[in-house]
């Protein structure tokens, strides 16, 4: 989707360890640290406290989980615009179950599983349409984004369904060694995602399919089926994020997850995953998500008007990407 303008020959820098994946991450870390420095300078204690760190992490956790799934999708050469909507649909479906009387005696894990199942199902439908229907991912998932939102509205009657399932809320709101369960969930998904991406055949296939689908097919990889799974995975993470959202806000509503997709994609790409596929990084994604969360936090601490925040945010995104690119490998391309 993006024109890779050929790097001007002059830009070929000396190679070093900086030019590997590590180098790409260094640029990101630098951006993150710069942001933190700004936070400390402008916010002092209020920024640097442990509480605030937890606030940032909690803030990052929901989009973070979505971003892990998105990293697989984008690496496989696709895109998923439906994650926000599907998240919303999952919260509505799960909360409908929880607020229906007949569900009184169901264990809360059933509610959780419903959320995950709804997300996964939506993802698999995306996958079917893209892999077997050969509809371009942007359009297929855009359609799902619109349709899932409508379905969520129909199911909820456009109402906000507040969940008061104690077992569930106790669980999601708990702390564990001083860290909120929501943050742990993000950590678990990120770590699992990292292993899946870097240590399993699934991850390897994802990179291969995104790098060269035709070559992968001729090497005997079932490309279509793999894409199906990748979108299913993204749906699953949307379901998980939905459950987290439900825990965080106690509310199932069709407006949950509204406009998350662009932020998630931005975080993934800022993190260093190539939008054209074939290269992805879970670590980069996590840092990308943290950058966005920290940005919001620093802005609020500084009491910037929303409008000014937006202008600043636009500028910072571009600058962050430019910094990252300075550090990133010139060597991979010419």
């Amino acid at each position: 989707m993006s024109t890779q303008v050929d790097a001007s020959p002059a830009a070929e820098s000396r190679s070093s360890w900086l030019s590997g994946p590590a180098g790409r991450t260094v640029g990101l870390v630098v951006a993150l640290v710069l942001l933190a420095v700004v936070g400390v300078i402008t916010g002092g204690e209020r920024f640097a406290s442990l509480d605030n760190v937890m606030t940032i992490l909690r803030l990052a956790s929901v989009t973070g989980v979505l971003a892990i799934g998105m990293t697989f999708v984008i690496t496989a050469g696709g895109i998923d615009l439906s994650v926000g909507s599907v998240l919303g649909l999952a919260t509505v479906w799960a909360s409908t179950l929880a607020t229906q009387t007949m569900a009184e005696d169901l264990h809360w894990t059933v509610m959780v599983l419903t959320g995950l199942a709804v997300g996964t199902a939506a993802g698999l439908i995306n996958g079917l349409i893209i892999a077997y229907g050969k509809v371009v991912a942007f359009i297929a998932t855009l359609a799902m984004m619109i349709a899932a939102r409508g379905l969520a509205e129909m199911i909820s009657g456009r109402q906000t369904q507040v969940v008061q399932v104690d077992g569930f809320l106790d669980f999601v709101r708990a702390d564990f060694i001083g860290v909120p369960v929501l943050v742990w969930m993000f950590v678990v998904v990120a770590v699992a995602g990292w292993f899946l991406f870097n240590r399993t055949t699934f991850g390897r296939r994802t990179v291969a399919v995104g790098g060269n689908a035709e070559a992968s097919r001729l090497a005997g990889i079932k490309v279509q089926r793999h894409l199906l799974y990748v979108y299913g995975l993204s749906g699953l993470t949307a379901g998980i994020a939905g459950v987290m959202m439900l825990g965080r806000t106690t509310a199932g509503t069709s407006t949950n997850g509204l406009y998350y997709e662009l932020e998630v994609i931005a975080a993934v790409v800022v993190g260093g995953t190539l939008l054209i596929g074939g290269r992805g990084t879970i670590v980069g994604t996590v840092i990308g998500v943290l950058i966005f969360a920290m940005l919001t936090n620093v802005f609020t601490i500084n009491n910037l008007s929303i409008s000014a925040q937006n202008v600043a945010k636009g500028v910072i995104i571009v600058v962050a990407v430019l910094i990252q690119q300075r550090f990133a490998a010139r060597s991979t391309s010419t």
């Binding site: 209020r46 909690r58 109402q159 069709s254 407006t255 609020t300 009491n303």
Partner: protein, 325 residues
């Protein structure tokens, strides 16, 4: 009946006002009403459409034509154009942006189709036959006055505000009323964040707000639906050193006020039934009838709804009009 009455109706459960046993509700000639509103991207707006549809359903002589809910004024304009082409009998319009829809509403009026303007006001008086408004400035004043009453004697008290969609004029009206009322008792707004009327937006904005302000005395939150998220953030942060005033008046919030199980002490009503009122008025206008208890002829040009403060003392009175956000 409905919100314009002084007495809250008895009926429980449905947010849609009950058809009162008055002459006005007797079936008459068929009325085709075109209805267009912004996308249900937050609970209040969802309740708006829902109660409009429910109310229309209660009349056998009303045929409601719902246009796709949209935040695109371009689309909304074309919907009104379509209603004009169709020659509907009346149009109930909650414009995404009042100014932007004024022109086409005027065109409808010129074509002899009465337009009932709801919630967000047109920029010209000629664009609507009747207007149903909440009292946004009044909401801010009510909330500010209540907070003044509670905190009046502590001039250095920290007051925070969680606003709705900042770019809407009505948000600015609310904030202005709030500020004006506070300054009357020597207080000001120490921290202000804006969310977007959604639960998630409220949660995010409030988490950050709480982080930025280690000690707070009072919070006013503009909208009870985003309030679900505001409350969740407060509970997540384990904070309770302040009290909170809500806005709009959802059932959920009223239940909290009644149970006294949270920082919520009060909320300010902003009726989610105003589009339902619009439907009723449209029908009356077409049937050329008077409004309920009024003696004067014809449906009034403007109906501004009341923004009372709901507290533990009077919550029972208002439970029935609280919207299930």
């Amino acid at each position: 009946a409905g919100c314009t009455s002084n007495e809250p109706p008895e009926d429980e459960g449905s947010a849609a006002p009950q058809v009162a046993a008055e002459g006005n509700d007797e079936p008459g000639e068929k009325v085709v009403i075109g209805f267009s509103a912004p996308a249900a991207d937050h609970g209040w707006m969802g309740a708006i459409t829902q109660s409009a549809v429910d109310t229309a359903d209660q009349y056998s002589d009303v045929e409601l034509r719902q246009a796709e809910a949209t935040n695109d004024v371009n689309v909304q304009i074309s919907q009104v154009e379509q209603f004009i082409n169709d020659g509907v009998d009346a149009i109930v319009l909650l414009p995404f942006d009042g100014a932007a829809l004024t022109e086409v509403a005027t065109k409808a009026m010129d074509a002899g189709i009465p337009v009932i303007n709801v919630d967000r006001e047109f920029s010209s008086p000629f664009a609507a036959r009747a207007t149903v408004l909440g009292d946004n400035y009044g909401m801010g004043v009510s909330a500010g006055t209540y907070i003044c009453e509670q905190l009046g004697d502590t001039p250095d008290a920290v007051v925070a505000e969680v606003a709705g969609i900042d770019s809407l004029p009505l948000t600015q009206d609310r904030s202005k009323g709030f500020k004006d009322a506070l300054s009357d008792c020597g207080l000001d707004v120490d921290a202000r964040v804006a969310a977007d009327f959604t639960v998630q937006g409220g949660e995010t904005a409030t988490s950050n707000l709480l982080q930025a302000e280690p000690k707070i005395d009072a919070i006013w939150n503009h909208d009870d639906d985003q309030g679900v998220g505001v409350l969740a953030a407060i509970e997540n942060a384990g904070r309770d050193e302040f009290f909170m005033v809500g806005g709009a008046g959802s059932l959920d919030v009223m239940e909290h006020i009644k149970a006294d199980d949270s920082v919520l002490q009060a909320t300010v009503i902003y009726p989610s039934t105003q589009a339902a009122d619009g439907i009723k008025l449209a029908r009356l206008v077409v049937h050329d009838k008077n409004m309920g208890d009024l003696v004067s002829a014809g449906v009034p040009r403007t109906t501004q709804l009341y923004a009372p403060v709901v507290t533990a003392d009077n919550v029972d009175q208002y439970m029935s009009i609280g919207f299930r956000s």
